[in-house]
């Protein structure tokens, strides 16, 4: 440990900060449905998820051998490139958090790495076909796989359980969704904390502190586990609200179906070797559960914003990463300036978030965003089954009002209610 230079120290701290943002960005994946269906109290849910993330970090002995999975050529990579990549990934994670949009932290990291590597060594440093096979295709596949599974499971569950009393069964579904959410948290800890360990280890190897090919030192494992757990515990309430309440209204059995499909898809993909992004799997699963219930309301405007964020993740994080790399190339002052810009950017986003804070206390409040026209039209033509959620009923009432004034089919996208401009 004695040869850690200032730059290396900065990179390690930045990697841990990324790990932290990864934690609070992805709490929603495991716990959004559990919180919104009332299976667990918000504080309890994040505490459980944090504990399982921490446990997960220690569970796996398999070290993330490459941080980018072959997307960029990691041989001879400079420490500054890793730093620049982390800056891009952190800023994108914070921005999507501010907007309350779930987006893949891994994709943000990949984007940052690609941008920084291209700006450092040109396009030859990036393996284009690996981007397609490891990022683009999984990004399309993940929500479809999880969404379809969750939709069919929801349908089946409603078909089997239609005669049972809602009140009596809700408790069971809630217990089931806690188990599934636990699995997602555990898997997240093993996968994503490993990524940070891989980054720090790579930086240490690059800096000549430890021998190439060695395992991460214990302090790396401990600090990466703690950073992700702390991030998870603080909870990205904005994203939790979007995923748990914003996309659709979930009944306990929908939450259970969504969480189970997410856990299954994540485990199946990491085991079979076609890795899918946890975030995209979970978002797809929630969407599928919303579609699976008769009369379920999916807010397509929110889904569209999420889709836009997913598409933007790679290029946006890449651009910031590339810019940061150009700056660090200027020498020590450039690196220092990058660090200052990162802190300033994070500070600005944080202060913007305080204007309309979403905390543990208001995470389950109903979204103020009006129901979109398409959603309203769908809800208007699909009669809700008896004994559904109160929220679904109010949504349909609102839809009926809307329908009276606007003929939905002719309205088109122009009638889409204006959304608040980004930031």
């Amino acid at each position: 440990m004695e040869h850690i230079t200032l730059l290396l120290g900065i990179v390690i701290v930045t990697a841990l900060v990324f790990d932290f943002t990864n934690g609070f960005h992805d709490t929603a994946n495991a716990m959004a449905t559990t919180i919104s269906t009332g299976a667990l109290r918000p504080k309890m849910a994040v505490a459980m998820s944090a504990a399982l993330n921490l446990l997960g970090a220690f569970l796996s002995v398999e070290v993330a051998k490459t941080i980018s999975g072959g997307i960029i050529n990691e041989k001879g990579i400079r420490v500054e490139v890793i730093f620049a990549a982390l800056v891009g990934a952190i800023l994108w994670n914070l921005l999507t958090w501010l907007l309350g949009l779930p987006s893949s932290s891994s994709h943000a990291l990949f984007g940052g790495l690609i941008g920084a590597a291209v700006s450092s060594a040109g396009w030859s440093a990036v393996n284009g076909s690996t981007i397609v096979t490891k990022v683009l295709i999984p990004a399309v596949a993940a929500p479809i796989v999880a969404g379809l599974a969750s939709m069919l499971a929801t349908r089946l569950s409603y078909a089997i359980g239609s005669r049972a009393e809602n009140k009596a069964t809700a408790k069971g579904y809630r217990a089931g969704s806690i188990a599934s959410a636990g699995l997602v948290s555990l898997a997240h800890g093993t996968n994503d904390a490993q990524k940070t360990m891989g980054i720090i280890t790579l930086a240490l190897v690059t800096g000549g502190v430890i021998a190439p090919g060695s395992n991460p030192p214990t302090w790396v494992i401990v600090s990466a586990g703690l950073a992700i757990a702390l991030g998870t515990y603080l909870g990205g309430w904005r994203i939790i609200r979007t995923l748990g309440k914003g996309l659709t209204d979930l009944a306990p059995q929908q939450g259970f179906a969504a969480q189970t499909s997410a856990a299954t898809a994540i485990l199946a993909s990491s085991h079979i070797g076609f890795s899918l992004s946890t975030t995209q799997v979970c978002s797809g699963a929630v969407l599928g559960a919303g579609l699976g219930r008769k009369g379920g309301v999916v807010r397509w405007s929110t889904a569209t914003r999420m889709l836009a964020a997913w598409i933007m993740t790679l290029p946006a994080a890449g651009l910031v990463g590339a810019g940061a790399e150009l700056l660090t190339k200027q020498g020590t002052w450039g690196t220092a300036a990058t660090g200052v810009l990162l802190i300033a950017g994070a500070g600005v986003i944080w202060s913007l978030s305080r204007r309309k804070p979403i905390t543990v206390d208001n995470v389950n409040d109903v979204e103020t965003e009006p129901v979109g026209v398409v959603t309203a039209a769908i809800a208007a033509v699909t009669p809700p089954p008896a004994g559904q959620l109160v929220t679904a009923d109010t949504a349909t009432d609102a839809a009926a009002d809307l329908k009276a004034t606007i003929p939905a089919p002719d309205a088109g996208p122009s009638a889409e209610p204006t959304r608040p401009a980004t930031v």
Binding site: L59, S157, G161, R163, Q253, S261, A268
Partner: protein, 71 residues
């Protein structure tokens, strides 16, 4: 560029089959439990046995999931 369609296909198939099976089993278990409370005698015992069998299968699936994460 080599896209591993076989892996993608099996992820798709496995996720779909396992999710639907698990959710179906669990729902059966939950519904049987509520039936147990409303019926008496042999019916209740049968419903309870069925419910616990369903939950046991689900627990086994969760255990296998943990095994996959650890291994």
């Amino acid at each position: 560029m080599k896209i591993d369609w076989a892996a993608l296909g099996s992820v798709f198939g496995v996720s779909l089959a396992v999710t639907v099976a698990l959710v179906g089993l669990f729902t059966l278990g939950v519904v049987s439990l509520t039936k147990k409370e409303s019926s008496r005698g042999g019916g209740a015992a049968l419903a309870a046995t069925g419910a616990y069998a369903c939950f046991a299968a689900c627990t086994a699936a969760v255990a296998y999931g943990i095994y996959l994460i650890v291994a």
